[in-house]
Amino acid sequence: MNRRSTMRLVTLTAATGLAVAALTGCTAGGGGEGEAGDTTITWWHNGTGDPLKSFWEEVASEFESENPGVKVEVEAFQNEDLQRTLIPNALQAGGDAAPDLFMVWAEGEIKAQVEAGYLEDLSGLTGVIESVGTAGTGWNVDGKQYGIPFRYGIEGIWYDADLFEQAGVTENPATFTEFGDVIDKLAASGVSPIGVGAADGWPAAHWWYQFAIKTCSPESLQTAAETLAFDDPCFTEAGENLKTWMDEFDGDLPFQANPTSTPAQSVPNSSAGLLASQTTAMELMGTWHRGEVAKLVPGAPAENPPAPEWLSWMPVPDIEGAEGAPGAALGSGDAWGVYADAPEETLELLEYIMSVDVQTRLAETGEIPTVAGAEAGITDPVLQQIAEATQSAGVVVTWLDTQYGPVIGKAMNDAIVNLMFGDGTPASVPEAMNAAAATL
């Protein structure tokens, strides 16, 4: 009996050892340098669909042909998988497993990666940093530049010009009071005025963010972002102002019915789908919304669906007498970051991606570029309008959930949805944010 168990143990250990060797052998063999003298750059992005996917591949092969001996491996991944699973795991594994060039989110998000020492300081690329101007500030950590934004824009209200006309709305509202009149007219004409995908949290939270940047002074916002203490009374006032505005209307208004079970994107009954099917007349969203709506227009072709002609855009109106900076807007973008141990050619690739030529062609695909001079590539009038509004905005504040990082971001968004559509109070939002900050 004893001998048998010893045997058992020996065999098991031997088998385990063999398999471990096999497993580790597998990982060591994957990826890495090519033939002697060659360099491989891995580049991860979130453009899983065309035109962006083919565009980045094209840019990579252009760079390869100009730089013999350099191979660029471009891979596209779904956005949340990329940011929440793939990149953190790859950076943690390090070495060849880590991508050399990859997308990084702004402020609180990039800060965590910088603190762990994964990102290369790009401050030396002065030409590129100057060319993107103030758009780059969100990726500046403690005075050093760790990410270079390649697309950037502010959010606004996407609306249906046809439904506006039907309801007798002739002029876009400049203040929240005028905005209220527009909502009443739309409701009277039989449409749901504003669509909101509150099932996903953040689309509803952006309404509160808008009230916050218009209620809080830029200094209060700055202090809150630095200290992660949300004790300034303006955060409670923002919720009070939002609630007061919502309570001016009857029933479910100003939003569509059942907001908390409406997702934001991808499916026909999402808030994007409701705008696309002309069930709702307006939606507060970022620059990407044009593509999302286009996909969900009933009968839209699967390949490169065109945006409907009635889809228009306006900046979010100001609140009269509020303390926030006039013309303050919310926005952000996507940036490239470089892994700390990436081959030096990666910086050259980054400079090439950020050249006026590539940025202009990026604009032609329907994105809002960051490099000065590249806006000439924007052909779509709506995107031109957003690019101009971004340029002329008094202050551009980064999405608050991105600024404060995911933990405070989630607590804040949950509390906001509860304030808007549940039994939450205006004070419960900053309370939840402070409680979440305490767990960091």
Binding site: M7, A14, A15, T16, Y118, S192, A257, N258, S261, F421
Partner: protein
């Protein structure tokens, strides 16, 4: 083990005792080699993909860790105290047990009843069996998205297919299936019943097939009616099947994730959150790997305790092999 030992000598009964010992040693080595070869891969997979992650999760749960950089912020049981104080987590645990209890109370009896009816000679029996099993075969994401689209309405202008049907039947103001926090768990239970009832019925039908016909004949000779026969003979003999189904159902309900994630994402206002949904939403999705691990450990412990208690008390007779223990 005993099977291998007794099977040995019958094959190689050698004359000389010394040769026999040598041979049997070689044979034993060979047997072990075979076992290692056949079981080795499975054991390895189990060690690396089941045991190791469980141990790592337990370890991570004592740290404040965002998944980046070294594990250097040891915080003891802080993640656990935070978790146990969170009302959303309480709601999630409640929702898991709501599904457990409702499944046992409603799905089980319903499945037995339908299986009994379908076990009789019926026209199109094969077709009926196939139809009942179809929802179980559908992928969770497909079924979830379909239900999400069927149930979601935006009154007054855009009604979902289910509500449109109800309105033609005269129910003007149907409940908000997915948006009302008081209704959503009942909706989810309905969807889960639709999805998993087929499996329960098939299991019960398989159990019914093992009930000997002679018992029915004997009961009929003694003057028992159909319902009496089912109640006194079939259902008790179905005991082992029912207990195994209940076990699978309980564990499935405790780990419930995908259907909720697809249909409601845990909403509205966290009303349909479960432990696993809470774990993903507050752990992985916000890069709090330490906290998420603590949730995983608690979920693991709850499942383990329920499983052990159930095995100890409900499955004991089945595991001992007393299949007819329930019949007098």
């Amino acid at each position: 083990m005993t099977a291998l030992d007794t099977a040995g000598p019958a094959v190689t009964a050698g004359p000389a005792p010394t040769r026999s010992t040598k041979r049997s040693a070689r044979r034993r080595a060979r047997t072990w080699g075979e076992i290692a070869l056949l079981a080795g891969p499975a054991v390895l997979v189990y060690l690396f993909f089941v045991l190791l992650p469980v141990l790592l999760a337990a370890y991570y749960s004592f740290f404040n860790w965002n998944g980046l950089g070294p594990l250097d912020q040891f915080i003891g049981f802080d993640n656990y105290t935070r978790l146990l104080a969170d009302p959303v987590f309480h709601r999630s645990v409640f929702n898991n047990f709501f599904i457990v209890v409702m499944s046992l109370l409603i799905q089980g009896p319903l499945a037995i009843l339908i299986a009994l009816l379908m076990n009789r000679r019926l026209r199109f029996r094969g077709l009926l069996r196939a139809l009942i099993f179809v929802p179980y075969v559908l992928s969770e994401v497909t079924a979830g998205l379909a239900w999400q689209i069927l149930l979601q309405s935006v009154p007054p202008t855009r009604w979902g297919p289910v509500d449109t049907l109800l309105r033609t039947l005269g129910i003007e103001d149907p409940p908000s299936w997915l948006a009302d926090p008081d209704v959503v768990m009942w909706t989810m239970f309905g969807i889960l019943t639709w999805k998993y009832l087929g499996l329960a019925i098939i299991l019960m039908l398989a159990g019914l097939a093992s009930v000997p016909d002679e018992l029915h004949e004997a009961a009929a000779l003694d003057g028992a009616g159909w319902w009496q026969t089912q109640w006194h003979i079939t259902v008790p003999l179905l005991g082992p099947t029912i207990r195994i189904w209940a076990f699978l159902s309980i564990i499935g309900a405790l780990q419930l994730f995908d259907m909720i994630w697809i249909v409601t994402g845990g909403g509205p206002l966290n009303a349909s959150s479960t432990m696993a949904v809470y774990m993903v939403g507050n752990g992985l999705n916000v890069s709090q790997i330490g906290f998420g691990s603590a949730v995983a450990v608690v979920l693991f412990l709850i499942s383990l305790i329920v499983a052990l208690v159930y095995q100890r008390f409900a499955l004991r007779r089945d595991l001992a092999g007393a299949l007819t223990g329930g019949v007098r």
